[in-house]
Symmetry: C2
Subunit: 411 residues, 2 copies
């Protein structure tokens, strides 16, 4: 047995498809055992099996029109408890020592905001004790416990976030996210056949790619990894491919600045025309949307001309009608002249750290889109991203044109 | 709102069929709400939904040939968590205040003997606090927690036992077991068409009836009720019939002494012939069975004749071959002359408090069986029971003959 000081720790997270059946659990257990046999300490976090969470939500809807949040959490945490205990059994069956731990047992403390709690603190004593005793702790992802012993779930991206938080609390060498894709690609491989898997990517780049539609990992987990400096390896639980390492990348200047093309075809736009350029107008428009919990994505306001401007913003297609209905009565009250809206839009983004510091990327993007006959509706930029809103019907074409223009198929 | 002192508390337990579907949960919630609306404080314990426990065990067997006990408990407790949270949601949906509590949250402390833990202690502070706040606590049955925060299940009859233990800890007026039968009958109504439902029965009588095959409630729960003096009302969750109250009955002399006929057709017998009558022989026979966890039921040893006797005992049919194989090699070593065994037996019992103090019951039982042409293989008695081992093929006939002989169809 290795001495305490020599131990190297890896946290692995297995998602819903990787624990989707007894057979999948058995195969994931083999992977975990291989890491342990290679001399690592391993802590595993698991999601609920495949469709379990949806089935539980379905049951809740059958007994209640509007299920209570606290009770919803009491219900949903069972999904991960089931997969965690099955995973521990499967490991024990192959001669490993393992122990499943609920969020409560693992010391994952959260706020009391049921269904979307935030992790406040991890008390890793129990996990450490199990590791010291030679066991592989299998921790339920997605859940925690309040000071009052009430169980909570931590919302979307919860299991990834749990894994990274545990890795941070234990000072793990890295956090591995085992999923059903082989890593992060330069573009969606379903759209761009010659999209290339990236070996490394920075947290910032991953955040832009993830939040823009390459939904491999939830932004929360990436942010947490960045804050605590936890390297995150995204890899497939179905192959031995090396995956993509999300990490701090210092040598920005020596590598290619564009890392990937992200796109999202679920975009609708609302434009308010002739908005008077005076304080308080933007607040008057967006407060009702915030109150209705409508998530606004891109907001673009042009420079004022004659004290009037146009203000456009995008929402998801599902919230388009609700958003338009909320904004419509505000138009006359703020003295704007009108409102129009359109669905069937998409956004495409070129992402890369340090892009901003090197000139010409925006021009190259616009030229590539123009060359493919694609009209640009809106433009926004961040430090590491240029985004264009275009017609949804041209999204695939745009992604391919940009992928080629930035030569992302080449190493 | 009633003042603290004036509150009357009822604990209700809903079994697997009473929470077997969303629709059943909704109906059970209506029953609970009616009790609350009548001004009672109510604490509810629930079993897992219908076949959930079996399904979870099935999953465990798919990932492990011999699932680890601790992990089995971590897995199985989810069954009651699901039904408890759904029940709380259903109550909240109908305007009640309710809160589900796991064994851990409800303060149900147990030993560390996974899969068959024993309740050591109940810390009812959280349950009381929820009651004080006007909520109906829905507590998961069948489970508890160790000092070390590991979850446990408390074995067969666990949910009933949880309910009675909670009723005892809270000083409840009574514990109601809501199930799929209307109460305790003078005999199995499937065998004796004119079997009569009993309004009241003593704990001792219920113990004899329950352990002898009228499997409405587990003996553990009845014993606990007796120790703490908790009246237990067994009733159907599908009707408003009044049920059977299991309670302390003092006026033994004024009522009929025979209360019911129990029977069990899962009986096999092993007889050892020519056993020398000397100390240590019984231990030599039964220790190997105990070590193999084979449950021995009736044991009969006749008075010694010429220093030799016959010793017979019964086991369940499923354990018959294993038991015979274990005992066979012992026969020569203890100097006995041989062994025979038979399956296809049944036991029928006449049960009633105070029966022993009144003469003639045994004779009446034997006469009734003889009158029906039924041969008696073995006889054993306790203070409140006379049991005969007979041929399984004649069990139904025997039960009907005894039910008639003791006039149990009449009030």
């Amino acid at each position: 047995m290795a001495t305490q000081g020599a131990r190297r720790l890896i946290v692995q997270k297995y998602g819903g498809t990787s624990v989707g059946s007894a057979e999948r659990i058995t195969r994931s257990a083999e992977r975990i055992a291989a890491v342990a046999d290679a001399g690592y300490d391993v802590v595993v976090t698991v999601s609920a099996m495949g469709k379990t969470t949806d089935e539980l939500i379905g049951l809740a809807r059958q007994v209640s029109r509007d299920p209570d949040d606290r009770e919803m959490d009491q219900l949903l945490v069972t999904g991960e408890q089931v997969s965690a205990s099955l995973m521990a059994m499967a490991l024990i069956d192959r001669g490993q020592q393992a122990v499943s731990l609920t969020g409560a047992q693992a010391g994952i403390r959260t706020t009391r905001l049921f269904t979307k709690a935030r992790i406040t603190d991890i008390h890793p004593e129990r996990i450490r004790r199990e590791l010291d005793d030679g066991r592989i702790p299998i921790v339920t992802g997605f859940q925690g416990i309040t000071e009052d012993l009430d169980v909570t779930t931590i919302g979307r991206g919860g299991s990834d976030t749990s894994a990274v938080a545990i890795a941070a609390a234990l000072g793990a060498e890295r956090c591995e996210i085992l999923t059903d894709v082989e890593g992060i690609y330069t573009a969606d491989p379903r759209v761009v056949p010659n999209a290339r898997k990236l070996n490394q990517i920075s947290y910032e780049e991953m955040l832009e790619l993830a939040s823009l539609g390459a939904r491999v990992m939830h932004p929360r987990a990436v942010e947490l990894g960045e804050v605590y400096g936890v390297p995150i390896l995204v890899r497939s639980s179905f192959s031995d491919a090396p995956g993509t390492l999300i990490t701090r990348i210092e040598d920005v200047e020596v590598r290619k600045n564009v890392r990937g093309i992200a796109h999202d075809t679920d975009v609708a736009k609302i434009r308010i025309v002739g908005v008077p350029d005076r304080p308080g107008v933007a607040a008057a428009i967006f407060m009702p949307l915030a109150d209705a919990a409508i998530s606004v994505d891109t907001i673009v306001q042009n420079t004022s001309l004659d004290g009037k401007t146009d203000l456009s913003f995008t929402v998801s297609r599902a919230e388009h009608s609700r958003a338009a209905a909320l904004v419509e009565p505000i138009v006359p009250s703020i003295g704007a002249s009108g409102l129009d809206h359109s669905e069937d839009l998409a956004k495409v983004s070129v992402v890369g750290t340090g892009m901003q510091s090197a000139p010409g990327y925006a021009a190259r993007m616009f030229r590539a889109l123009a060359g493919a006959g694609i009209n640009i509706d809106m433009i926004t930029t961040s430090d590491i991203r240029i985004t264009c809103i275009i017609s949804a019907s041209q999204a695939d074409e745009a992604v391919n044109a940009l992928h080629a223009a930035f030569e992302l198929d080449q190493e």
